[in-house]
């Protein structure tokens, strides 16, 4: 039936089942090759953004989704060199780094529309007036998205991704408790015995509590340093800085390697402050105790630790974003192979002001217009006499709702956020198209 419907509009590019399948796989493969570099670039940048984002500074200045903050975010995104694919992990990094989700969603929306290739192609193929309209629309759609995401997040209709689930508590009383935990394999060349280890663990938990208090912690929750090796498990627990830490377990003989776990929870400090304290104190105590780590030069200095954390976060983002990527590229292949180009131009060539823009948006959403593809089709539409608003809508919506990028967004932010993003983009693209029609034609 679909084939008959499509034939009414034009000839599908292929009708033989094997040829169709090979065509779909070939397009899917090309899509994968096209997507991967941007995905990799995006996850690396996203990982570093998440780790090095100035959370404390930003959370002080951007505490709510006001018009000013949304506009600022949208403008930054519109000038950022990220596109529909790379903006997803970068947005993830911003959200994980502590930026409010509506503000991060603004970045996602505006940056996805204004990828560098899209800007060059829109300016080059459609002209400067279209480019200006394209840019301004992207910024305004970003602001609109910010309000919409804020509204839906506050009402619990969408879930904020990367918000620490442990914090999404149950009880507002939980607020204010931060936590740092670290596990690393450590070694002692000469081996470490029970008393040496206990002394090291005692010094570690005491020093950690002193540092936390010195940096302004209001209350120490629990500090635990635990060494687990073949020779036994020893742990030191401190809850009250005034009391001697509790020691548990013994080490039978000397141990040369083992896993050291350090957990720190306190009220009044940020997670990042606690991590920094952990690394600094651990580094000092290990030096004194003649202990080392496999990667101690990297791990036991704050910058090295953060670089490693950034790469770990990148890997996590890559896994999340690529979860539905295969599905996305297959759908992209099906659309590319089975939907004839004539269908698009036939449906959108109308000069009707409202209808042509609506059709344009409805077609642009499932089409794959990343990396300038949207601008190329838009310029063809323009040459075939489509209404300017329909052309602009297609140029805005098609690149940002590429199936592969939507699949990545599904994996990274969940389906509800992905659907909301698509709806806002379609609605925003429609309004931009109508407004552009009125500006130029009425």
């Amino acid at each position: 039936m679909l084939e008959k419907l499509l034939l009414d509009f034009g000839t599908p590019k292929s009708v033989e089942p094997l040829e169709t399948l090979l065509g779909i796989l070939s397009v899917a493969y090309d899509e994968l090759l096209e997507t991967l570099p941007y995905l990799i670039l995006g996850v690396v940048v996203g990982g570093f953004v998440a780790e090095f984002f100035p959370t404390d500074l930003v959370s002080k200045r951007l505490r709510k989704a006001s018009f000013k903050s949304l506009l600022g975010c949208s403008c930054c995104a519109a000038f950022s060199p990220t596109d529909a694919w790379s903006s997803i992990p970068v947005t993830a990094g911003l959200s994980k780094g502590g930026l409010l989700w509506p503000l991060a969603a603004v970045f996602w929306m505006a940056a996805a529309i204004t990828g560098p290739v899209e800007i060059m192609m829109t300016g080059g193929l459609l002209g400067l007036n279209y480019l200006a309209a394209f840019w301004i629309s992207a910024i305004l759609i970003g602001v609109f998205a910010g309000f919409a995401f804020d509204y839906f997040t506050k009402r619990g209709l969408i879930e904020e991704p990367f918000k620490d689930k442990a914090r999404r508590m149950i009880s507002p009383a939980d607020m204010g408790f931060a936590r740092s935990d670290l596990r690393l394999r450590i070694a002692a060349e000469e081996g470490i015995d029970d008393s040496e280890l206990k002394n090291a663990l005692l010094s570690l938990v005491k020093a950690l509590s002193q540092e936390c208090l010195r940096e302004g912690a209001a209350l120490i929750g629990h500090i635990r340093a635990q060494f687990d090796s073949r020779s036994g498990l020893v742990s030191a627990d401190l809850t009250d800085p005034e009391r001697t830490p509790d020691m548990q377990g013994t080490l039978e003989g000397k141990s040369k390697t083992g896993l050291l776990t350090v957990i720190l929870s306190a009220k009044g400090l940020s997670d990042r402050q606690m991590k920094r304290i952990t690394i600094r104190v651990l580094s000092e105590v290990m030096k004194k105790s003649h202990l080392r780590t496999v990667l101690d030069q990297l791990y036991l200095n704050w910058t090295g630790f953060r670089v490693l954390s950034a790469f770990k976060t990148s890997l996590k983002f890559f896994y999340m974003a690529s979860k539905y990527l295969i599905l996305g590229i297959l759908v992209a292949g099906i659309i590319e192979v089975l939907i004839p180009e004539e269908l698009i131009t036939e449906l959108m060539g109308s000069q009707a002001l409202f209808l042509s823009v609506l059709v344009s948006v409805l077609i642009a959403v499932p089409m794959c217009g990343c990396q300038g593809g949207g601008a190329i089709v838009a310029s063809e539409l323009l040459s075939k006499g489509a209404a300017p608003g329909a052309v602009l809508s297609y140029a805005i919506v098609a690149p940002a709702t590429c199936v592969t990028s939507l699949a990545m967004a599904w994996g990274q932010f969940g389906w509800k956020n992905m659907v909301l993003y698509t709806l806002i983009l379609a609605f925003g693209g429609y309004l931009a198209g109508i407004a552009f029609n009125f500006l130029l034609l009425v």
């Binding site: 689930k165 149950i170 596990r183 009250d240």
Partner: protein
């Protein structure tokens, strides 16, 4: 299959109590499965429990709360299938309040192979620390109010008057609180819990 949840402020002795209860129940021939909830990415409590030969799994990086009930359910059902335990002991992390866990347990009731019999919700109080009562009273207050049994732990480290002071503070939060004095590390004062479990 019985299920006992232990909540309590950070460092109040939850792992120690779970370890003692687990060992005692196994001595009585019961099969015990333990789920340790950790807020972070590491789970040293599970390592401690495993060292003692107890069957422990962890739920890391999220709370046992309605939004993440599926993760908890998955672990619980897997352990039920593999171990066929008589008793489940659940250790919540230190900033969890009992009501959220009650909601989760209600949501998975009927989804386990064996009938799930919930026991009273337990909250531990570290009697040797007064500071959390002053600086985290909202959290401790919620834990006490929402618990069925309040265990006053580490009573060996305080004097009688200090203990009475703690008790009166708890009575102010919840006048009808069911209080039990314990030293979890020595297994003192946990008889009532053992009776409930066995």
């Amino acid at each position: 299959m019985k299920l006992l949840v232990v909540t309590g402020f950070l460092g109040s002795g939850k792992t120690t109590l779970i370890r003692t209860l687990g060992k005692e129940c196994e001595k009585l021939g019961k099969r015990v499965a333990i789920i340790v909830n950790e807020a972070g990415t590491t789970s040293p409590s599970k390592d401690i429990l495993k060292r003692d030969g107890l069957n422990a799994e962890d739920l890391k990086g999220c709370c046992i709360c309605p939004g993440t009930a599926a993760k908890f359910e998955k672990i619980l059902r897997r352990m039920e299938k593999e171990l066929r335990p008589d008793i489940f002991l659940i250790e919540a992390f230190g900033t969890t309040t009992p009501n959220a866990i009650k909601t989760v347990i209600e949501s998975i009731r009927g989804k386990t192979q064996q009938k799930l019999g919930s026991l009273p919700m337990v909250t531990l109080i570290d009697c040797s620390r007064e500071e959390p009562f002053n600086k985290a009273i909202e959290l401790i207050g919620a834990q006490v109010r929402e618990a069925d049994i309040v265990l006053l732990n580490k009573v060996d480290l305080v004097t009688d008057s200090q203990l009475k002071n703690i008790e009166s503070r708890i009575r102010k939060i919840k006048p009808d609180a069911s209080l039990m004095r314990t030293v979890a590390s020595e297994g003192r004062g946990i008889d009532r819990l053992l009776d409930l479990l066995n």
